[in-house]
Amino acid sequence: MAKREPSVNTQNLTAVQLMELDSCSRCGECVNWCPTYDASGQDPGLAPRDKILRWREFMNKSYGLRARLFGPKEIPEEDIEKFKDDVYKCTTCGMCATVCESAINTVELWESMRANLVKRGNGPYGKQGAFLKLIGEYKNPYMANNADRVNWFPKDIKVEDKAEILYFGGCTAELKQRKLALATARVLNKLGIKFTMLGENEICCGSALIRTGQYFINDTAKVNAQKNIDNIKAKGAKTVLYACAGCFRASMIDWPRLTGKKLPFKVVHITQFLEGLIEKGDIHWEKSIDKKVTYHDPCHLGRHVGVFEAPRAVLKSIPGIEFVEMERIEENQRCCGAGGGVKAGVPDLALGVAKTRVEDALQTEADVLSSACPFCKRNLSDGRDAVGAKQLEVEDVVVLVAEAMGIDLSDAPKE
């Protein structure tokens, strides 16, 4: 009799990741810190430790000693489907990786498991399935006309045709939260920095596809990353600025991995760029912002790539700002709840996490909860509304910088 085929395969998982499954000592530290486990009412299936255990068992049933001697043991389809649901209820914030005593790179592991499950026909989750079609068809996940990325800029905005500095706006700031894109452009203009943009040639950075395990389908994410790189090169850019943490992370880590090549330009977050200018004394503040401000580290800017100080340095240099920290910051920061496709796939869970983060901010009695990522801003605003904390302003660091520089943003399109 022919041996049964294994129920799971190892597509999209690396050899090191398969080894990492065996390195979990089940200390439970990840369970103590996981924001979605917490927001779900401590659903055991969402605990990172549990997900590692279940996939290890899947692997052992399929390829372990017993499987080698007597053939693979069948895994019920409902177990795999349940696993898929649980692995998608994760914002890929990376908190579990930070606290993991075994140093397991959990973010990459969850993303690889998702890609595996997409290939197997189980993933993605809910509305995340629309990302591929939308990005393929519209070049952005918002079903917006790609020509509308910057054609709405007021006439005073000066964007060069070619320049050594390029501002990669990102889908959310250019198409949804336009105040951020406007603030960034006006700040750069006021500082006399010549910059260019990709405009309608800009394509989604691919973060949504990569985080949800769909990047490999039709090579969409790879093709788009290469097109963005080529278009940036064609603009003559040597430095690319980002005001979106998601795009920043995708460009810095995912684009080189997808294309297999080093980037031919420098990737800089706008707060790092502004920090450099502040240090040189190139920014002249015109207004005092007399508010108590706290800062939320976006996962993709902080834990994923280690930019913690720059946004804080910028905020602290703005006159009038009383800067206060929340309890959980920097590498121990609590996620806003929007990442990893959770906002699109499991909005209630995203809101639950956001509410907890807003509570963190309220404890500091801050007037403003700032961040450096439009996606965090969106979910934190939803969380603020859900807890009814109308007094708390949620705003991007760049917008606060623009205000302190005396820049008028009253003509910014409504979000």
Binding site: T10, L18, R26, S102, H304
Partner: protein
């Protein structure tokens, strides 16, 4: 004779020694088979993100070497720093919980030092035994005499045995009396701790019977050889043969994960 305590006190001596050697060889054999299966299992993955699975037994070492040589965006620390601070000193555990670090560190240090001393004792006995047959035993330094060497190891053996026992007692306490730990404990965790406890306690008892100290519980001295043999066999089975098939694999996998991820996030 040098192997007397280790293997017995009568004619059964040689047979017992052979038994132990067979068990040791068998344990090492099972260990290698298990690691081969694990390497095959890990090798079912690819050598890079998004690449097709390979299936070769060399895939894992290749991927490990590749990942260790890549530039990391956040913690790009050296192999030496990872080895000393993260693998040996286990600072990632210390950062999270000093008590858990103390528990794990005492088990780790006790275990590794006792293992090293057992290995050293075995080597000295072997060298001396071969030396007796080959006629060079008299020219060996005095401390290479197994009886003298055993005496030299006697105090450190006691110290590190109690260090190990301290860690085990904390681990058992946490598993039994800390609600969060107790509720999350599964057989995978329990087997490791039970094995560790049996090995350690059997070692104390075997030594206690031989020396007539507390741990011997006044058992007759002639029980010393079989007690010692039991301790040796159970240690070989749990500490070597069972590693690839149980939670003991973390002793190999965690250092590898730390090296692959340059000490982690």
């Amino acid at each position: 004779m040098s192997m007397e305590y280790f293997a017995g006190v009568s004619d059964a001596l040689r047979l017992t020694f052979v038994q132990v050697m067979i068990m040791a060889s068998l344990s090492i054999g099972i260990f290698f088979i298990g690691m081969y299966i694990n390497l095959k299992k890990w090798g079912m993955g690819s050598t890079g993100y998004g690449l097709a699975p390979s299936g070769s037994i060399l895939t894992f070492p290749r991927m490990l070497a590749q990942q260790m040589s890549e530039h990391a965006h956040v913690h790009n620390q050296s192999v030496l720093e990872t080895f000393v601070l993260d693998i040996l000193f286990q600072r990632r555990i210390l950062r999270r919980s000093p008590l858990r670090w103390f528990m794990h560190f005492t088990i780790f240090v006790g275990w590794m030092v006792l293992f090293a001393m057992s290995l050293a004792m075995f080597l000295v006995e072997m060298i001396y035994m071969i030396g007796e047959k080959a006629g060079y035993a008299h020219s060996l330094p005095e401390f290479m005499n197994p009886e003298i060497f055993r005496e030299i190891l006697s105090v450190p053996n006691d110290i590190f045995s109690y260090i190990l026992l301290t860690g085990i007692i904390i681990a058992i306490y946490r598993r039994l009396f800390v609600a969060k730990m107790r509720e999350s404990t599964i057989a995978y965790d329990s087997i490791l701790l039970i094995g560790l406890t049996v090995i350690t306690v059997s070692g104390f008892i075997a030594d206690g019977i031989r020396t007539g100290r507390f741990w011997g519980f006044d058992m007759p001295v002639e029980w010393a050889p079989p007690a010692s043999l039991f301790h040796v066999i159970i240690s070989l089975l749990f500490c070597i043969a069972y590693i690839p098939f149980s939670k003991y694999i973390h002793m190999i996998a965690i250092p590898l994960a730390l090296l692959a991820n340059k000490g982690g996030e």
